[in-house]
């Protein structure tokens, strides 16, 4: 067991190093130069002034040094939890990410978890009730196949612009300052609902279809037939089937939760929801590689942690994993 964890930890550390290096490198491969974009916002009317500003700005952002030095500075920043200053927002990257994280978590964790729980339940029910199956399957496929952007726009158009039940964009009402008061909380929930619904519907379809297929598969396996032939109740057979079917779904859930920190770009952009997905979009369009590096690092850590947790969870949930560690075969 200890060797298993040691091996896992080393693997994760190496992965972290490689992924973080790639995280640093990829934004530098983007064509164009962020300092030039930044200076494009000034309406500079003399070349001498341009050169003076270029020098000052490059220095201020630490991009006036050779690449290898920038790479070392980046690692030093990672270890000190300092990812530099965002070109686009001219504020510390950690500060900007900290503002966006709560919105993204508030949006995606409920959407993913609720869709997971309900999707699995209804998918499993559909697997054994023909009438339900005929309803759930097409609806599930419809939602799962619907592009996020289209569904989000449709929801926004009907529920926000036509019916005016919900606000069309932003994380809260612009006139209400964020704080522990009911006006803000109520406004945040109203603004949260449409982005939540669009992510929920799409994910729900996926989980439901997946679970339905898995349960049908499990009900047809030899162990299920054997149980039935022994005269086990239908209820007991279904419980076994559900338990086996839920394993791949759980891995999917862990991965989905791991990338939660990346936000949902399309939904957040459509609803102008101030989370990390929206921030990634802004960082890319503005070639803000400090911001991009910071967010990607969050995603790397999120995915690695989620994988680590699922590794442990498998040991607890699936006895076969435990057995294989002690050398036995299932």
């Amino acid at each position: 067991m200890r060797r298993y964890f040691f091996k896992k930890v080393v693997t994760y550390l190496v992965t972290f190093f490689v992924a973080t290096t790639i995280d640093w490198g990829i934004p530098h491969l983007m064509p164009g130069n962020p300092v030039e974009i930044y200076l494009g916002r000034f309406n500079i009317s003399s070349n001498a002034q341009y050169l003076a500003l270029q020098k000052t700005i490059s220095q201020a952002f630490g991009v006036n040094v050779p690449l290898w030095k920038q790479y070392l500075d980046f690692w030093s920043g990672v270890l000190h939890w300092n990812f530099g200053i965002s070109f686009y927002a001219t504020a510390p990257v950690t500060h900007i990410i900290a503002q966006a994280v709560p919105y993204t978590l508030a949006l995606l964790i409920p959407a993913i978890v609720l869709s997971y729980v309900l999707g699995n339940r209804i998918g499993a029910m559909a697997a054994r009730r023909k009438v339900l199956d005929n309803v759930v399957l097409p609806i599930g496929y419809l939602f799962q196949a619907a592009p996020f952007a289209w569904l989000a726009l449709a929801l926004s158009y009907f529920l926000a612009v036509r019916l005016r039940w919900f606000p069309p964009s932003l994380g809260s009402n612009p006139g209400i300052g964020a704080g522990w008061n009911w006006a803000f909380i109520w406004s945040a929930i109203r603004h949260w609902f449409l982005p939540f619904l669009s992510v929920f519907l799409v994910s729900f379809g996926g989980w439901a279809i997946g679970m339905r297929n898995l349960v049908i598969y499990e009900l047809e396996t030899d162990y299920a037939r054997y149980l039935r032939s022994l005269g086990a109740s239908q209820r007991l057979v279904r419980r076994y089937a559900y338990r086996n079917a839920v394993l791949p779904q759980l891995s999917g859930l862990a991965l989905a939760l791991g990338v939660v920190v990346g936000g949902n770009i399309v939904t957040e952009v459509v609803f102008q929801y101030p989370g990390l997905g929206h921030l990634i979009f802004l960082a890319i369009t503005n070639e803000d590689f400090f911001l991009l590096q910071g967010i990607f690092l969050f995603i790397i850590i999120g995915v690695l942690l989620a994988n680590f947790v699922i590794d442990i969870a498998y040991v607890l949930i699936d006895p076969r994993t435990r057995l294989s560690m002690t050398g036995a075969t299932a």
Partner: protein, 577 residues
């Protein structure tokens, strides 16, 4: 045992569900601590007392330094800091603002600074000082001595500045650069000498300045990741001109995409939008007139918007065939700007005058010159010019930044028209940064650009066309077509050193420049981009409008407009609907 474990999975599901339901509350409220970089003095802004604006800011408010145009947030200039004069592009002329008068006396310029102007601290609204000539002298000296100051080149010909009470005397070296000085007067902020003098030289230019001390009509009240809110300044001097704001708060919201802004405007979350909203004329006009969604524009019908800048077709004149004047003439005659105006813009913009000078500079346009040398859509003539140019059928590209949908549609249109006369042009849509780099480094064939913004004289327009020398990297937004005409550049410099009062001489110089421009076509002006403005009239009324003589003010919050033209007058006209 097996069944017990199944239950534990179910329990896990129940726990997750509960956590999921609680998360939005915790998450959203948790954000409050992180997002409020300053504690707002008012948590909630009553809708009936707040004007919501949008269309200027593309990133969250993190800077209110009027010397940092690369980072400052909407309102820094105009609501907080103010210039000495304003420029009125609709009626022409300058309006006294923090200066009550300014006169040339030979090589010196003498200004009287307004009495009774207070320096007010944000967000407390405490009066911390009074504006004197010393503040003005300090601001001019800062521009002279710091090469990164955005107005450094405007004051290049200033020798010295002195202040005595409310009188400021500016002495120039040799012939003053009259035009650039005039631009300084209505562009540059007057800074508080006491507070600004205590800052480091870096902070004077690029410090965040989150607790501004300013003279303007509002003070900064709060910021969040999506907006900045200002509160009206009870100590503002505007009463001297009969000006005051009828809203108590103004919140400027960070821009979203077009569809988001349109939804915000139609649902009344937003009052004043300076976003480009494609097809807005359809909403204003087609769906039962202005009442359909309560949306108002400056003109009730075409062109709906005032003109803001000139979109021109920029050619890299150092490359063949663009270095051939007949080729450029062929391009100019092959394009029909009217088809872009109606097809791409649904008539919310106007086709440009062949000189490209904006409508507010009409008095400088020599109509005879335009009649004699101006170009117009004529495909037959284009083919003749093309033949004379000896064009060998080179394949060329025409680029605009990716995602600028109106320009993307425009260059598809233009490419079709150019191909129709036999010029092989392919539209391309590189990322903004790539295209910026192409223009700066001269690694492009043709591009659409609008780098000449509004000004009170044609000077900066022609400076952008003819500026010399040409560097390997043309960092400043000057002469990106890389056109060399030393004679024209000498004329531009001469115009800059001619007093604005010498109208006859200026007219003569600008006529010569217009002639040169139309004969050689270093740029091909196509249409005027609009000063996009649409307002929602459910909460507020009295928006700028061409229909009402008392409301003819610039309806734009953009940099270079809000604090420099007549937008503050427009804001003072707004009343409860």
């Amino acid at each position: 045992m097996v069944i017990r474990k199944t239950k534990s999975v179910a329990r896990l599901g129940a726990a997750l569900t509960a956590a999921a339901l609680a998360a939005p509350l915790l998450g959203a409220v948790g954000s409050s601590a992180a997002s409020a970089s300053r504690i707002p003095s008012t948590t909630n802004y009553p809708r009936s007392e707040t004007l919501y604006t949008s269309g200027t800011a593309y990133s969250q408010p993190t800077n209110f330094n009027p010397n940092d145009p690369g980072a400052l947030y909407t309102g820094t200039m105009g609501l907080l800091y103010e210039p000495l004069f304003l420029y009125d592009p609709i009626h022409g002329g300058y309006k006294p603002w923090l200066a009550t008068s300014g006169k040339w006396q030979g090589n010196t310029y003498v200004m009287q600074i307004r009495n009774g102007v207070s320096w007010v601290a944000s967000p407390t609204q405490n009066v911390v000082g009074t504006l004197t000539g010393n503040d003005v002298a300090f601001s001019i000296k800062l521009a002279m001595t710091n090469p990164t100051d955005p107005w450094n080149s405007n004051v290049a010909s200033v020798a010295s500045v002195s202040a005595s009470g409310q009188t400021v005397t500016v002495t120039f070296k040799g012939t003053p650069a009259y035009t650039e000085w005039q631009d300084y007067l209505w562009h540059a902020p007057v800074l508080p000498a006491a507070q600004w003098g205590a800052l480091s030289s870096t902070d004077q230019i690029s410090g965040a300045n989150m607790t501004p001390v300013s003279t303007g009509p509002m003070t900064l009240d709060s910021t969040s990741s999506t907006q900045a809110c200002f509160q009206t300044n009870p100590h503002w001097w505007g009463a001297q001109l009969g000006l005051s704001f009828h809203f108590k708060y103004l919140c400027d919201v960070v821009n979203g995409s077009n569809n988001v802004e349109l939804a915000n405007l139609t649902t009344g979350q937003l009052d004043w939008s300076n976003n480009f909203l494609p097809g807005i004329s359809v909403l204003v006009n087609g769906l039962g007139g202005n009442s359909a969604y309560g949306i108002k524009t400056y003109y009730p019908k075409a062109p709906y918007m005032l003109s803001a800048n000139t979109a021109w077709l920029e050619m890299n004149t150092t490359k063949a065939p663009m270095n051939n004047v007949n080729f450029r003439r062929a391009v100019a005659a092959a394009i029909n700007p009217q088809s872009i105006v109606s097809g791409v813009y649904t008539n919310i913009v106007k086709a440009a005058n062949p000189t490209g000078l904006l409508p507010n500079l009409d008095k400088y346009i020599n109509k005879n010159v335009v009649k004699k040398y101006g170009f117009s859509y004529n495909p037959g003539l284009a083919k003749k010019y093309l033949k004379a140019s000896g064009y060998k059928g080179q394949k060329l590209t025409l680029e605009v930044p990716n995602g600028w949908t109106d320009w993307e549609a425009a260059i598809q249109n233009i490419s079709n028209q150019l191909n129709a006369v036999g010029i092989h042009v392919t539209p391309t849509y590189p990322q903004y940064s790539v295209r910026e780099s192409d223009l700066i480094n001269g690694t492009y064939d043709m591009a659409i650009d609008n780098n000449a913004g509004p000004d009170s004289t044609p000077w900066s327009y022609f400076q952008r066309v003819y500026n010399l020398p040409i560097l390997a990297k043309q960092g400043a937004t000057l002469n990106w077509e890389r056109y060399t005409d030393p004679k024209a550049w000498a004329l531009v410099q001469e115009a800059g050193r001619t007093p604005l009062s010498n109208g006859a001489k200026l007219d003569s110089i600008y006529s010569q420049l217009e002639t040169q421009f139309l004969q050689a076509l270093p740029q091909i002006p196509l249409w005027y981009n609009g000063a996009w403005f649409q307002a929602q009239s459910t909460v507020w009324a009295g928006y700028p409008s061409a229909l009402n003589k008392n409301d003819q003010y610039t309806p734009v919050m953009w940099g270079g407009w809000l604090g420099n033209m007549t937008t503050v007058y427009a804001l003072a006209q707004i009343q409860r609907a």
